[in-house]
């Protein structure tokens, strides 16, 4: 069985946060306690959408020490393959769902003298649990949170009310921008910076930190990619001795699972490296979307991350 351990839960609360974001609360079906976790962890939510089973990762935003319930926030993506639309439109209070044990690929560096959090949009969610962890342990932190506008600023009111000195909010439509160089230059020695948001923001923060001489180990980022739709393609799975079709709205990993192949995975977002698969033969072009493999590995045609990457061409044979 691939992936993390599973937990049977019931959806006990759904709260619309704003026009795009809904918050879901899960409690154990057997009435027991959920595992504690570390700030920045995610859970993989299993969605039975007709014939398709989707497994999408969402950051846990509740208090890591609260074992009574987990909460996640889901931003609706009208252009996506349907996972967030399923959560928004088809999940109701009382529904039974299956989620995974917490997995953390974005954990705090506990050596830090201070944690500097930089969030963009829905990228706020891992920081919500990290802030609760910091508050509980008495760690120093500061948040700089960029949102499109006040109406779409998820949890802005809660954050600024509870943490008026630590939480700083920037609205794009008011032309407010994080003064990143100043901010990074002003940090005490031993500060670690964490960024979660759109790809452009992550690139900007990493490049600026590097330019300013920040140690690589002190810069942390999380970017979960949702698998993107694409042209259907055919894959030969050599070990399983199967030829499968990958539909336009499913990922290669999902197509393998649908065909009964137990392929390894954890994050399903191109970050953790678990699903790395060797390419035996191909004639065509890879559409690599992960940030696990190095550029030369992408170019080599020897490896693919089936959770987010696709293929266009005639033949693809994988060692799975």
């Amino acid at each position: 069985m691939s992936g993390a351990e599973k937990i049977d839960v019931t959806v006990t609360e759904i709260v619309p946060v704003n026009a795009l974001v809904k918050r879901f609360k899960f409690e154990r079906r057997d009435g027991g306690l959920l595992p504690t976790f570390s700030g920045g962890a995610h859970t993989v939510v299993e969605m039975k959408d007709g014939d398709i089973t989707r497994l999408n990762p969402y950051s846990l935003m509740s208090d890591p020490m609260d074992q009574s319930a987990y909460t996640i926030s889901v931003r609706r993506d009208d252009e996506g393959r349907g996972g967030s639309l399923f959560m928004h439109n088809k999940v109701s209070v009382g529904d039974e769902m299956v989620i995974s044990y917490p997995v953390n690929l974005f954990s705090l560096d506990l050596r830090a003298k201070k944690h500097l959090f930089l969030a963009g949009g829905i990228g706020i969610t891992p920081f919500l649990s990290q802030i609760k962890q910091c508050e509980r342990l008495g760690d120093a932190w500061e948040l700089h949170y960029a949102c499109r506008n006040a109406a779409l600023g998820s949890y802005v009111d809660e954050l600024t009310a509870a943490h008026p000195f630590e939480a700083h909010v920037y609205y794009d439509d008011e032309k407010q921008v994080i003064a990143l160089e100043n901010l990074l230059n002003g940090q005490p020695i031993g500060t670690h910076v964490y960024v979660c948001g759109p790809k452009g923001m992550i690139t900007w923060v990493r490049a600026t930190a590097e330019k300013l001489g920040w140690p690589r180990e002190a810069v942390h980022y999380e970017e979960f990619l949702a698998p993107q739709p694409g042209k259907p393609f055919e894959v030969r799975l050599a070990v399983s001795n199967k030829t499968i079709q990958v539909g336009k709205d499913e990922s290669l990993l999902e197509a393998m699972e649908r065909s009964g192949v137990d392929a390894p995975y954890l994050c399903r977002g191109g970050a953790c490296g678990q699903c790395e698969t060797r390419v035996i033969d191909y004639a065509g072009a890879f559409i690599h979307r992960d940030h696990w493999l190095e550029d030369d590995e992408h170019a080599s045609g020897e490896k693919i991350m089936p959770c987010v990457s696709r293929f266009e061409g005639k033949t693809l044979v994988l060692d799975r």
């Binding site: 993390a4 351990e5 020490m65 997995v103 560096d109 953790c272």
Partner: protein, 355 residues
Amino acid sequence: MTIQFNDETFRGDYSFKNSDWAIQRFPFPFHEDSYMYSVNMEQHRGGPKGSIYEKRFDVDEHYLAEMRDRAMVLDDDPLRCQSLPHMTLAGWDLLELIMVSKSEDYPDLFELHRNGDQWRWINKPMGIDDSFTFLDAATLPYGPMEYITRQAQGDFAVLDQRDDNLWMDAGMITTQADWSLDFDIGMNFFEWHAPVPLAHEKGIFVRALKFLLNIQQGAPARRLNWTMTVNPLLDTSPENYHKWGVQKTEITPENIGSKQHLRVELQTFFRLPRSNALVFPIRCYLCNFQDLMSMPKWGRRLHRVIRDLPEELATYKGFIDNRPMMLDYLEKFDDGLPTSPGIWPEFETEPPLQK
């Protein structure tokens, strides 16, 4: 199950002894008639009833004697227990993991009562009944890791996970096979494994690290490792090599059966929830040759493994000089018959010694 705890020592007069029960459940580490390194991991989710795999943290007849020995080692050398400042949260994680596991797995021996942050821990064999506030180290007599590992058999390496590596940033190490926490503290996975021969070339550590980094909450793993120890010594540390190293020269054909011990480590790996650290409990089991030879399968197999072991490994494991004498002894218990696969002794079905 009630365990009869032995009154025994791992030093001085070496009165350590395995009961018949302890011999039967000894974790013989060879599943076939030869040995080479491998990433021999499996999930740690119970095992045959009564076996050392059954519980998350095995408690056996040596518990109280091992805890007395640990206290003596720490009295002499407090640096056997260290925790870098950022590892305190992992220490609480470990305390919780052991208290919850032991109270659930051995309810007749251990009790844990939790009311929010107010916890009460009862360890009946050791006569401990402490109330404390979870996450408030001032309410315990030691730091959380030291407190609980003074009450748990085996060594504990607590590894921080960051930058795609594991870091030896805390531990309680008093029953070790010749490695030093004080030397390794702060090292990463490749640094502290640097002295191991052959395995680097085989890519063992790259694969092992990848496996360990991906151990997740709720899915612990385990493996066995082994070496040889003369006399039932728990503390075979580099710090005390001047005391125990010389004992390797005291083996004779007459005393080898009782003095030479196979030392097996049950290594388990648990992801710690609050800190995202990894704890690596290393539980040491000792069994002398003559007790091992009471199982015909183990007699046949141990001879073959020791005979065919590459020289580098026998050197690294510290018994290259004594190997000829070991083989003279073990050879008498190998009649050339085939052995069944797997580590279990199969005493009922394996044929008795034919010579």
